[in-house]
């Protein structure tokens, strides 16, 4: 069935056998009980940090209708545990491994990337810059173009591995931040991380999460992140990897039409553990049915009339209401 459809995509020189991969923090070894890991477009690890970290106080998740708020934090066993245990584990597969990293400073990011680059088996680095930058009062790097530019440049100098930069949807101007990443050498941007959110327990009047606030993910955020992917794909020439609420092949197609070259699946895996392989199969079927020979042909394929295009520069929340 998928014989006739070419599912491969190219992400800044890295060829993936299909455009479907996990979102960082929603994937681990255990999922190989559910799916054949060799079928995935790529692996993306939970974000790792140099130092050991505990993660946030419990409760760490609370469900909302059609979505999830999480404040897991980044519990990390540190870089040596990763190099000794995790890295060898994934070498047995022919699926490329993308390692998500984080650090509290520009220099921390750069040195972690440099250190990791020495080890074989890493296909790309995904810099999760939606994390607090202690040099900027705890604001996430990806909140601003300036900090994004600095950290991306430092990363670029630190590693020759393909460099993906993962943005936050919480800033007012994601395309501008994407441009900053592109200008300083990123090979791709991942759009996006979770949207900051909150819920209060009406029985106790306390926040539902130990961390008070957390990140919203899942189907409910799809229309928002899809818009950001569309805006970013217009703003940069490097590939955009879409991530936010993807649960079905239709969602993946929508993201690719909006301009995503590949997609990451996060929360959906918690609900349907085989979501990724189901999506890969259905994506092939979709292309077959619509007589699209290569899934890459979908990328940026949304049809917009010229007249509308002109107005895009103007488009702001506003027009929305």
């Amino acid at each position: 069935m998928s014989m006739n459809v070419d599912l491969a995509v190219d992400i800044g020189g890295l060829r993936l056998k299909n455009p479907v991969m996990p979102a960082s923090g929603t994937f681990a070894e255990g999922l190989d009980k559910v799916m054949d890991f060799n079928r995935l477009g790529a692996f993306v690890t939970k974000t790792i940090t140099r130092e050991l970290r505990d993660g946030n106080p419990l409760p760490r998740v609370v469900e909302q209708p059609g979505s999830l708020i999480n404040a897991i934090g980044i519990p990390s066993k540190g870089v040596s545990h990763f190099v000794e245990r995790t890295l060898p584990h994934y070498r047995r597969y022919d699926t490329p491994l993308v390692v998500s990293i984080s650090a509290p400073t520009t220099e921390g990011f750069a040195s972690l990337a440099a250190e990791l680059s020495a080890f074989p088996g890493i296909a790309a680095i995904e810099a999760n810059i939606s994390c607090p930058n202690i040099e900027e009062d705890g604001k996430a790097f990806a909140m601003h173009a300036g900090a994004t530019e600095r950290v991306t440049r430092a990363l670029r100098e630190a590693t020759r591995l393909p460099l993906w930069v993962k943005l936050t949807p919480n800033t007012g101007n994601v395309p501008e931040v994407a441009q900053a990443a592109e200008a300083s050498g990123a090979d791709a941007v991942v759009v996006a991380n979770t949207i900051l959110a909150m819920a209060i327990d009406l029985r106790t009047f306390k926040p539902c999460l130990g961390n008070i606030m957390g990140g919203l993910s899942g189907p409910a955020i799809k229309p928002i992140v899809l818009r950001q992917v569309f805006q970013c794909a217009k703003a940069v020439r490097i590939p955009v990897i879409g991530c936010g609420g993807i649960a079905t092949a239709e969602d993946a197609v929508e993201y690719m039409l909006a301009g995503a070259s590949a997609v990451q699946v996060g929360t959906a895996t918690f609900v349907q553990p085989a979501a990724m392989t189901t999506i890969i199969d259905a994506l092939a079927e979709f292309c077959l049915r619509r007589e699209i020979p290569r899934v890459a042909d979908l990328v940026g394929g949304v049809l917009i009339e010229e007249a509308d295009e002109r107005d895009l520069a103007w488009l702001d929340p506003v027009a929305a209401s």
């Binding site: 060799n38 760490r60 022919d94 553990p273």
Partner: protein, 288 residues
């Protein structure tokens, strides 16, 4: 039972351990068929579903993640963890015993025989029953009784005798007594109403069993107070023990780290995922 995992399509595990064995799912999310779903007492409901061979191979202490139907006006988003209450590989059935507490379990409550239920499992590490064990004690309360239930048959098959101490608020809320007796177990029930469920009384009973040589290992679930009693006795008498823990879960398969608990491993506090490293843990390592 339509397995919804990827079909083992003959693709090979290219560089893995055995390069020739095709990959095969050991955990499946599938549409099981409800065979029975009815109240066993004022609090608990008993559900039997017909499922795949993989699911029916579940072991005592393992659990499933159930995708609960939506009750009117509510939309449970995550799956809900439920202990295996019984597994019957021959007739491809698994059973659950659950209490209706919120949106998800209200959804389960709506199911009728013939309906489909999306179950994912078996998950986690269950109870270990070492071959030589002569006599074990199972101590449970609340939903813990559900978790301990499949031990009755497993112990008999292992050649271990079993004594169960079941704690509940009222005598009519104790479940699984017949199930245990049918497997040849002795069952002692203690209740709040009869004022027999306090830790002191349970400790007295346990000391009696130990003295009689009828306790070579503790198996427990559902009460921190009773767990502490057993930890103390296990320490005192050098007895092994296992405890099944609960924690809120999202993925149920070790991906998300929302279900962590602290454990005391040789004096160091270690963080573990209940869904993946457990839900059954060494009794002495568990922290309440």
């Amino acid at each position: 039972m339509e397995p919804m995992t990827v079909r083992p399509d003959g693709q090979q595990d290219a560089a893995g351990g055995c390069a020739c064995a095709p990959w095969k799912a050991s955990v499946v999310a599938e549409l099981a068929e409800v065979v029975q779903n009815r109240a066993v007492n004022g609090e608990y409901r008993h559900m039997v579903v017909h499922c795949s061979a993989e699911a029916a191979a579940a072991q005592p202490g393992q659990f499933f993640q159930l995708l609960c139907p939506m009750p009117p006006g509510e939309a449970p988003f995550l799956r809900r963890p439920m202990s295996l209450y019984g597994a019957f590989p021959d007739r491809r059935q698994v059973e659950f015993l659950y209490k209706v507490t919120g949106a998800g379990t209200r959804g389960l409550d709506m199911l009728k025989p013939g309906d489909r239920l999306d179950i994912m499992g078996p998950l986690g590490t269950g109870y270990r029953l070492d071959p030589g064990l002569r006599h074990i004690v199972a101590v449970g309360r609340g939903a813990g009784l559900a978790t301990l239930a499949p031990l009755a048959r497993a112990a008999r098959l292992n050649g271990s005798k079993i004594t169960a101490i079941f704690s509940a608020r009222r005598p009519d809320l104790v479940v699984s007594v017949d199930l245990f007796r049918a497997e040849g177990a002795e069952v002692i029930t203690v209740t709040d109403q009869e004022q027999t469920s306090g830790p002191a009384n349970v400790e007295r009973i346990l000391r009696g069993l130990i003295a009689e040589g009828r306790c070579n290992a503790f198996y427990t679930c559902g009460s921190s107070r009773l767990m502490r009693v057993q930890q103390r006795l296990a320490q005192e008498y050098g007895l092994p023990g296992q405890v099944a823990m609960e924690q809120q879960m999202a993925c149920g398969i070790g991906l998300c780290y929302c279900c962590v608990r602290d454990f005391n491993v040789d004096g160091a506090i270690v963080n573990r995922r209940v869904c993946w490293d457990g839900p059954v843990f060494d009794l002495m390592e568990a922290l309440p």
